[in-house]
Symmetry: D2
């Protein structure tokens, strides 16, 4: 961390300020230039609050050189993290570290027939994981909110039927018990900065699929991962799912540049959600391919056997046939990118 001191600051205040900084456990290297005094902080600056420093009247600028996250930081963990999920049959499905995780399924679990049909079809096409929402965060209190516990039970049936590990969204920590059989816990974009929830997830022993909030920076996403990791749970899959911009053609603006950035700064696997980001099924194949080309470790895609009748988000769900074709292309891309499906 580098701190530029305002010109004309009284010498004794600068000395006092340096003492204050050193009390926080860092060493301070002072450099008095002709026009400006600059302080260089040496040591672990993760716990130093840059905003609090900026409030000091003798501080001109504060520049973080070190990133504010540690456990999620690739500098301290150079190798890719691979998330392994055991399947019922004794196998393993992996995401990251050269493995592409393909997660597919309906937005909401709607019925036994629906979820089993979709699960069987996406398995056949090559998906590694089944997704399905039981508890749905909906903008309107009057919209369908998911089947709840019954939805989780139906997911368990589909898992039993197909052997696919299951990914589902958790909305409050109280649901953790119900999620006993769920293999990967998804945290939605709107909860990415629900810090109380993140802290609780640190004590949970399941992998967490953490979606980027639609107005959160890369650093904030990594800090949210850090909240969970600081509690002891290091199995986190990051997910880019679109950010809000002025452009209103798609529901959100898919920020594919986030993929190489996250992979450069963190060792955690990064996947992309082409369905929620665009909100339009016809764009899902091209954005899925672009995600893999950008270096993503997988995708999470909505597939519905009858998008027209879907109880939520049908507009963005692709059919099993489209998914099957997409998987054929993804296999070719995986070869070029040196990834294993």
């Amino acid at each position: 961390m580098i701190i530029a001191i305002k010109r004309g600051s009284p010498a004794e205040e600068v000395i006092e300020f340096i003492a204050f900084l050193e009390k926080q456990g860092v060493k301070v290297h002072r450099s008095d230039g002709e026009e400006q005094t600059v302080l260089g902080l040496v040591g672990d600056t993760t716990k130093i609050d840059a905003d609090a420093l900026r409030a000091r009247h003798l501080v001109d600028k504060v520049i973080r050189v070190q990133e504010p996250y540690k456990m999620a930081n690739r500098s301290f963990h150079p190798d890719d993290t691979r998330i392994d999920v055991s399947t019922d049959g004794g196998g393993v499905k992996s995401i990251g570290g050269g493995f592409l995780g393909i997660i597919a399924g309906p937005c909401s679990v709607e019925s036994r027939e629906q979820i089993i049909a979709v699960a069987q079809s996406v398995k056949k096409s090559g998906a590694g994981f089944l997704r399905g929402g039981a508890f749905k965060p909906r903008t309107s209190p009057y919209s369908f909110q998911g089947l709840g516990c019954e939805g989780v039970n139906l997911l368990m049936e589909a898992k039993k039927e197909t052997g696919l590990p299951v990914v589902s969204e958790l909305m409050t920590i109280n649901q953790l018990e119900i999620f006993d059989g769920v293999d990967v816990i998804q945290i939605g974009a709107r909860n990415m900065q629900n810090f109380s929830l993140l802290r609780e997830l640190g004590h949970c022993c399941k992998p967490i699929l953490l979606k980027r909030g639609y107005a959160n920076t890369i650093t904030e996403l990594l800090m949210a991962a850090e909240y969970i990791m600081a509690g002891g749970n290091e199995r986190i899959i990051l997910c880019e799912r679109g950010i809000r911009s002025f452009d209103d053609y798609t529901r959100n603006t898919l920020d594919l540049a986030a993929v190489p950035i996250l992979k450069r700064h963190s060792h955690l696997p990064v996947i992309v959600d082409p369905s929620h980001s665009t909100g339009l099924s016809w764009m899902v194949p091209s954005m899925s391919k672009a995600a893999i080309a950008a270096g993503a470790d997988g995708i999470i895609v909505e597939v519905h056997n009858n998008p027209e009748k879907a109880l939520c988000d049908g507009e963005q769900s692709i059919t099993p046939d489209v998914f099957s074709d997409l998987m054929d292309t993804i296999r070719k891309y995986a070869v070029i990118e040196g990834k294993t499906l």
Copy 2:
């Protein structure tokens, strides 16, 4: 709601679609133009999911004419809602309906001395409510997270000492018990779409100060209020606190146009947070005045007796002296705007 049907849609599918719509409790008025068939939905369309309709292949466009919120809607409740809060001495402090609510205090409660000193000073300058954070949502797990229960206890002491009703932020529903003596519960921007929490707040009997998420639209804010109101709690104060834009000079972009918009579409009181939106104390007075001029029913301002030593967000806190001067000007603006402090 108006639905434009795609050209060339088979007649029988259109008929089937109309039947489907009518099953959802609305009447459908069909109009066959030369180039396009248009359906007009009559009745309560609040519960109809526009996105689900857009997924139908015969649907071209869906346009909401009616707003998706009901209880928060001024159309169904033309008069301003006024939130009254009883004070210990048997008095009442009000926000909305012609009353300006001035909420002031430190970002975080830090010590008995600090909170009582600030409370006395803002009371003297004319503030109606004391704010103070006991549980703090912080981006980094390594930053100061607030004094917690002890912070709430200190707020209670400051309330006893000054008689000012207290506003404090709640992060999970489990904290409700601890908040027994808190007069107004603040829900932070990051929890604005924590739907599980909103639903629980519907059963609570305290006024809720609901902050707009920094990437949420006006409609989403009103839908969040609707979540709470649908549960039975209709005492909600809306708060504009800045949105994210490309501009990085201030922490967020204060969207003052939201004030007249919210007041046009809703009967709920609307206040403005000039401290968190800008993040810079020197802008607080000008943005506070602009908020009142724009028609706000109040402001929530950070005041700290020693901003330089504040444990969080000192950069955006004004001193008691600056606050006192600001109140003098606000009193003049209130006269012009016909508001009572």
Copy 3:
């Protein structure tokens, strides 16, 4: 400017780099900390290209301490600039330095009757300047593009009739001749970074009303002013007119915080356009008042005698009656703010 050097950079490369920097006319103060070498640049860094430095592989971070604009910078010109415009009758109308400039008139000049009627009415209500578009930048090539030269002639008639100085938008430098009688040249948001045009305007001797581009930062606006000022024309009025954000209720998001920011960093007068920013006439009065409360040196407002029949942007034009009421309130605000109308 402060440059942090990457750890492990070869000593001789750092020396070579310092020599390169000094060749650009600055002195370099080098400070070798335990973990990082930091260079402090002393002297005029305005001409140093921070981006070019960032491309060097031994550079970690570059931080501008000095702002990149000079002539527009308040540091080098502490007093407010006041723009005086002579009127035909020998009087003077001023904007800035304590004077509120109220510029009002229709979006487009449409006919002799219209422009003269509006001019007379806004003059009566207290406007100091008449605005009217003769050349209109329209998103569609098929929309009405303004009356062109005829429009300018009609503006001249209205000026003669009322004595009000005239503000009109110029789209290419070739129109300068036609604008001989126009008193203040407006440069629209879409041309804010038309650098060829800005450079030409530096040689022009009329005041320039420079609108902020809807996706431009505060610094970019001041750099655009700097382009004109570097050519010799220092009479510039800055105008905030809304930026693009995710929110789609209003046409743009009016960034009123830009007003105190611009006034802190620049000596140039700052006005606000409440009409184009919101796009909605009913919001114009509240946003105009908020602009004055935020410290603006004036407003530019669309007034049309028959908004319903306006050839462009009628939706955002207020009627002469609404304008007259607004002026009454602005006069009261001006007293509080210590401004002269």
Copy 4:
């Protein structure tokens, strides 16, 4: 176009309004529902100004069903447009219609040696076009503004040397003469809505590479193309180069979803600029691949033989070696996507 009339509008005003609409050359289909009257406009609504209609007090909502652009619209021109550029040797280089156009070269032309060296190297790696800036739009008037005419002359030498057609940015129409030998005229993001310039380009007979403004919607980009096409020049290449969002890690947010959207709504070729959008050379290869995977008809990439010494934007330029590797991968992607290089 569908117009919803406000409830309670006087019958005679509705009739008068319909007459007004029909005078503009469309037929109006009126439908009186129980709660609302809806008008359907039949015919060419391209020239109808939706905003002007919204200003009418009896209008509730206006919904465009037809897109406002015509010549750029795929509906009226279902086949892909291919832009062919003749090379000196009698050959042809194409972009669109199944052909990938790879445009590479330095941000700025700096010297004879530089431009020829880069041209030879990118040609060897398989680029089809040479890019190089002679006139540079720079945010600061004090930055290097390009070599101007001399730069164009050097580009001509590089063209002669290598046979590569040349792409260069034009800033004002006066430069057209100097651009005689330039094969494709680039219009930069900041000039995308310089309507005077666009109109002039309609009379020019060279292909135009039109970059999307960093705050412009898809529709606005297509309307800008329409401006040029309406003048007679239909050879336009659209270019996505990043938009402004809250995220500040990269210079802009590359909106790759724009590629399939533009190709769905327009027949014009679409390319991507991974260099200016990200501003970081290490991201160029992954974003280039993602662009091709998303369906782009080509890329425009900055390649510099010595990025560290580049006079502008070195930070985003890749070296000839990195470019050569990237071309190898692109060739593989092209096979999967069925495109010809």
